[in-house]
């Protein structure tokens, strides 16, 4: 399956949902971006920022109110465009009575595959997603992680040049997330020419998998850049938890605005990697212990998810005194 140009191209795409007789909701506004071939691109944004709407428009499930969407050179509304796509939905569901093998065979046949080629591909993919041992089991009893891996396997059946994953790690436990992340990386290593486009609201997933990102905020394109550009511009902060500090060090830290005493020890906020190294050296020299280090990219989170700080009016906060 060859094509020329970008894997995905959106030009001035707007989507308005008719939510009532008169009421309308603007989901995506004037979205323009491209996803070049062979890249792993993350579509990043908070819940409700328009990620899923954008993906569903690319897949042709939703019709754009305005604008043009091209998938591998074909209009997203053409059936042909979908032959280039392997899709993993956010919450994959299969007919409960089908076995893992049945599911793969069904989707393979819909893609026009058959015979030994299909069987070999099914065998390989079920092994890839570590589901070979449950090939003949009904998907009814599958865990969320297993269902997700099976959905990933069916997306790879015809070795599509464009893989679209909608929140692939959503709802998974840490182990499940790690498995899917590893699989995505492995798939890209094995199919380096394929383009991967996936949506997420988890920054860590983007950092570990993507080469570039598209940031959406409230249905608008906030920024499209490489991951390196994004990370270099973000303001990285570290939260250190220090125990057994000497009185002099304790006095020094507690005297600064960046530190405070907590039940577990002294909590220190450090800006940037260089400052972190200096602090760690200081703590080690003092003989104190570092009980924990937490990394945060504050400015990036603020940019994506907005300012979430909220000051309640007097008397109505969670800690407000009860009145009789």
């Amino acid at each position: 399956m060859n094509f020329t140009g970008d894997a995905i191209s959106l030009t001035s795409v707007t989507k308005i949902f008719q939510t009532g007789v008169i009421k309308r909701k603007l989901a995506v506004e004037d979205l323009t971006f491209t996803v070049p071939r062979g890249e792993v691109v993350g579509l990043l944004g908070a819940n409700g920022s328009g990620k899923s709407t954008t993906i569903k428009m690319i897949l042709g499930f939703l019709k754009a109110t305005r604008g043009e969407i091209l998938v591998c050179g074909h209009s997203a509304e053409e059936r042909m465009a979908r032959s280039f796509i392997g899709y993993l939905p956010e919450n994959p569901r299969f007919q409960r009575f089908l076995t893992a093998h049945d599911v793969m065979k069904y989707f393979g046949k819909l893609l026009g595959m058959r015979g030994d080629t299909l069987e070999r591909r099914i065998e390989y993919l079920l092994e890839l997603v570590t589901l070979k041992h449950v090939t003949k089991e009904r998907v009814h009893g599958f865990s969320k992680g297993m269902t997700q891996r099976l959905a990933l396997a069916q997306a790879l059946l015809n070795q599509p040049p464009l893989l679209i994953f909608d929140e692939p790690m959503s709802g998974l436990d840490p182990l499940g997330r790690k498995e899917i992340r590893t699989l995505i990386t492995r798939i890209h290593d094995e199919m380096p020419e394929s383009t991967m486009f996936f949506s997420t609201h988890i920054l860590a997933d983007v950092e570990q998998v993507c080469s570039s990102v598209i940031l959406l905020k409230q249905g608008r394109l906030k920024r499209q850049c490489t991951l390196d550009e994004l990370l270099s511009q973000s303001d990285q902060r570290f939260e250190l938890l220090v125990r057994n500090a000497s009185p002099s060090l304790e006095k020094k830290y507690l005297g600064s605005a960046e530190s405070r005493m907590s039940a577990g020890g002294i909590q220190i906020t450090v800006q940037g990697a260089d400052a972190l190294a200096a602090r760690l050296f200081e703590i080690k020299t003092d003989g104190a212990t570092v009980a924990g280090v937490d990394s945060q990219r504050k400015s990036l989170e603020d940019e994506l998810f907005g300012d979430t700080s909220f000051t309640p009016p007097p008397g109505v906060g969670l800690n407000a005194e009860k009145t009789t």
Partner: protein, 255 residues
């Protein structure tokens, strides 16, 4: 025929066999056998006719409910639950998906009608030699009626929610049988009647498929009437499926 329609139809057949058909047939069998025993104690002379009447009516009600509720479960639930997204993400058209589901469900319904006919013949043969021809015709027409209702149900399922689809489909079933009676008995001078005259044309005449009263007397209808019923079924199904496909193709699928 597009092979993908058959692939989707085969999955639909398996889904219906796995989840629903067995219970419907079991209910029908228990009701039929139980009632025929009860009726057998109530009357002696009309035993055969009563049993045939009862079983034909039971078959019709079962098939009407099955065609509507299985249609909702098979087609609409897949849209609302999101399992449709992986199928439609493949290079197949929405019309193929819709037709696949419809063909699968219709095949199951005709097989069910066949099963019910066999059961009715078995039960009624306990009283006397059954009128196979008359009963086969009646059950065949019940099957055609259920297919028309399925296409109607798909049309509403594309456009509305599960409850609305069920209510409207059942209303169409009722009105489809009563439309001529309503027309005859209405006040022809009233303004409401003028509206009814327009509305009536949008409701399929399901009396075309109704030979229930004849089955117990062993009366068969002519092949011309049978042929007309088949043509009428084909026209109704084609109309509703084209309308469903047109709407389905324009519709956003937000799952």
């Amino acid at each position: 025929m597009n092979l993908n329609i058959l692939r989707i139809a085969w999955i639909a057949v398996r889904e219906l066999l796995y989840e629903r058909v067995f219970y419907i047939l079991l209910c029908f069998a228990i009701l039929a056998l139980g009632l025929s025993l009860l009726l057998g104690q109530m009357t002696y002379i009309e035993q055969y006719k009563l049993t045939v009447d009862f079983m034909v009516s039971a078959a019709e009600i079962s098939m009407v409910l099955f065609s509507i509720f299985a249609g909702i479960a098979l087609f609409q639930r897949e849209l609302t639950m999101g399992s449709v997204s992986m199928t439609l993400a493949k290079p197949i058209s929405r019309t193929t998906f819709l037709l696949g589901k419809f063909v699968g469900q219709s095949l199951v319904q005709m097989a069910m009608v066949g099963g019910m006919l066999a059961l009715t013949l078995l039960v009624t043969s306990a009283f006397r030699h059954p009128d196979v021809g008359a009963m086969a015709q009646t059950f065949w027409l019940i099957g055609l009626e259920s297919i028309v209702l399925t296409s109607l149900c798909y049309f509403f399922a594309v456009n509305s929610g599960a409850t609305t689809t069920a209510i409207i489909s059942l209303c169409f079933f009722g009105l489809g049988h009563l439309r001529e009676s309503i027309t005859e008995n209405a006040d022809h001078g009233s303004a409401t009647f003028q509206i009814w005259r327009v509305v009536k044309n949008l409701i399929p005449d399901l009396e075309v498929f109704n030979t229930k009263a004849l089955a117990s007397y062993g009366i068969t209808i002519s092949s011309a009437e049978l042929g007309w019923a088949l043509v009428y079924c084909f026209v109704c199904v084609t109309f509703f499926l084209i309308m469903s496909a047109l709407t389905f193709n324009m519709k956003d699928i937000p799952t």
